[in-house]
């Protein structure tokens, strides 16, 4: 339990992240380059042709978009229960990142959908629930920016993130129930239903995207901490 809060000390976080960041950044650059190069070199699919390569950009973006909401909700929970300022900073900075990955997922999906389904947009289950996910992110960001008092904004946003996290599976289920997206092909009980030539680039891209998210997240958390320190100094009148 004590280990969980090692990083809760902003000073220690700043020290550790400063040393970690160059490694994280290089790992991101290398993995993403390899993943995308492998994806580019992968053979065309017998049904989908070269458009299948959009998958290496699209699928990881969608995964990260969902993971970011999960992380945001988790951090919100920690900040609400234990009142950790750093957890709140982490939740706050995860939201715009998650929103960007959601937009990326929607945009690449729409470009993929045009040659595959003959239309940029269909009101299918995953597309619709992703659009709703984007609105949940936007609502969170809007609520945070609208409340001026930082402590109050933090707690209000945390409550909203948790209400959203509880409702997200229900929304997902209802939208699924309502409605052309292909079924689950990777995480299946009988093993991945996807050719190995595609699985490798996809896995490496996914790792690259995850590292990219972690790098950007760390940078944003550091910026937010520095920003808060700068504001505290300004308020104390020492500047």
């Amino acid at each position: 339990m004590a280990n969980m809060f090692v990083l809760a000390n902003p000073k220690r976080f700043m020290d550790m992240s400063e040393r970690l960041l160059p490694w994280l950044g290089s790992a991101t650059a290398i993995t993403l380059t390899i993943g995308l190069a492998l994806g580019f070199l992968a053979p065309p699919d017998y049904q989908q042709g070269t458009t299948v390569k959009i998958m290496f950009l699209h699928v990881p973006a969608a995964w990260i978009a969902m993971m970011a909401y999960g992380l945001m909700a988790l951090m919100s929970f920690v900040s609400l229960i234990w009142r950790h300022a750093l957890a709140d900073v982490a939740a706050k900075t995860a939201a715009p990142l998650g929103a960007v990955f959601t937009v990326l997922g929607l945009a690449t999906g729409s470009l993929w959908g045009r040659p595959m389904w003959g239309t940029y947009w269909v009101w299918d289950a995953r597309l619709t629930s992703f659009l709703l996910l984007l609105f949940l992110y936007l609502g969170y960001i809007a609520l945070r920016t609208a409340i001026e008092d930082e402590a109050r904004a933090a707690r209000a946003a945390a409550i909203l993130a948790l209400v959203g996290a509880v409702n997200l599976p229900i929304i997902e289920f209802s939208v699924n129930w309502h409605t052309l997206h292909q079924g689950e092909s990777i995480l299946r009980a009988d093993g991945p239903q996807i050719a190995t030539v595609f699985l490798w680039p996809l896995g490496i891209s996914a790792l690259g995207y995850t590292l990219l998210f972690l790098t950007l997240w760390t940078v944003r958390i550091r910026t937010e901490i520095l920003d808060r320190r700068a504001r505290a100094i300004m308020l104390s009148g020492r500047l």
Binding site: F135, G139, I147, R152, L160, V163, I170, I171, S174
Partner: protein, 219 residues
């Protein structure tokens, strides 16, 4: 104490200048605009009726939500309510109930008239009324959380729909689907799912709303 608060909120919403009649008028006005927009073909209207009525009902209920806590917050009554022997959770539950009794219930009662004007059959109208009766409490409940979260925001009325509408997607889906499924027997399933959604959102909502009210009173 609970009865007094319930009575007070209902009187505030129904007396002159209250939000109840306004929400009903808004509901009827929005629904009236739809045939003007998409044409008066009754077959087409009957197909979209359930979706249109559900969306309009959600919007109408949202319209009156900023009054739920905001008016009491602005004139200080909310501080007095917080000091009363009632817990904030009970207060939130009573206010949600009052909001539903003055918007959700009247909207449900008006819906058969509008449904008939859209060419719904008697059976479909029955399902529509039933779905609204089951589903609108979740609108008041999730709306109350949004209203409480946006208490201290000057333009909270604009943010509130953005917070609440995505959460209400299941209610609209199941509610409209129940009517569209028609006599095929599928509507029962949709209504059951709608009931589950309504219960699962309405019961915990007073706690979330009370937590949000508390943080806004603390400052």
């Amino acid at each position: 104490m609970i009865g007094a608060l319930l009575g007070r909120d209902i009187r505030l919403a129904t007396r002159a200048g209250g939000s109840s009649a306004l929400a009903l008028a808004f509901f009827a006005a929005v629904v009236t605009l739809v045939p003007l927009g998409i044409g008066s073909n009754l077959d087409l209207l009957a197909r979209v009726a359930a979706g249109v009525l559900w969306v309009a009902a959600v919007l109408a209920a949202l319209l009156s939500l900023d009054r739920l806590f905001q008016a009491d917050f602005d004139d200080g009554s909310l501080d007095l309510l917080a000091l009363s022997p009632l817990s904030l959770e009970t207060m939130a539950a009573v206010k949600i109930a009052a909001h539903w009794l003055t918007t959700g219930l009247p909207l449900t009662l008006l819906s058969p008239l509008l449904g008939t004007m859209f060419g719904l059959s008697l059976g479909e109208t029955e399902t529509l009324v039933l779905s609204l009766l089951i589903g609108t409490p979740s609108v008041s409940a999730l709306g109350a959380i949004g209203a409480a979260l946006t208490l201290s925001i000057r333009r909270g009325g604009l943010i509130l729909p953005l917070l609440v509408l995505p959460l209400l997607a299941p209610a609209v889906i199941f509610g409209a689907a129940a009517v569209q499924a028609g006599p095929s027997g599928l509507s029962g399933g949709a209504l059951l799912l709608l009931s589950a959604f309504s219960v699962a959102t309405t019961l915990p909502s007073p706690f979330a709303a009370a937590a949000a009210v508390r943080l806004n009173l603390a400052g």
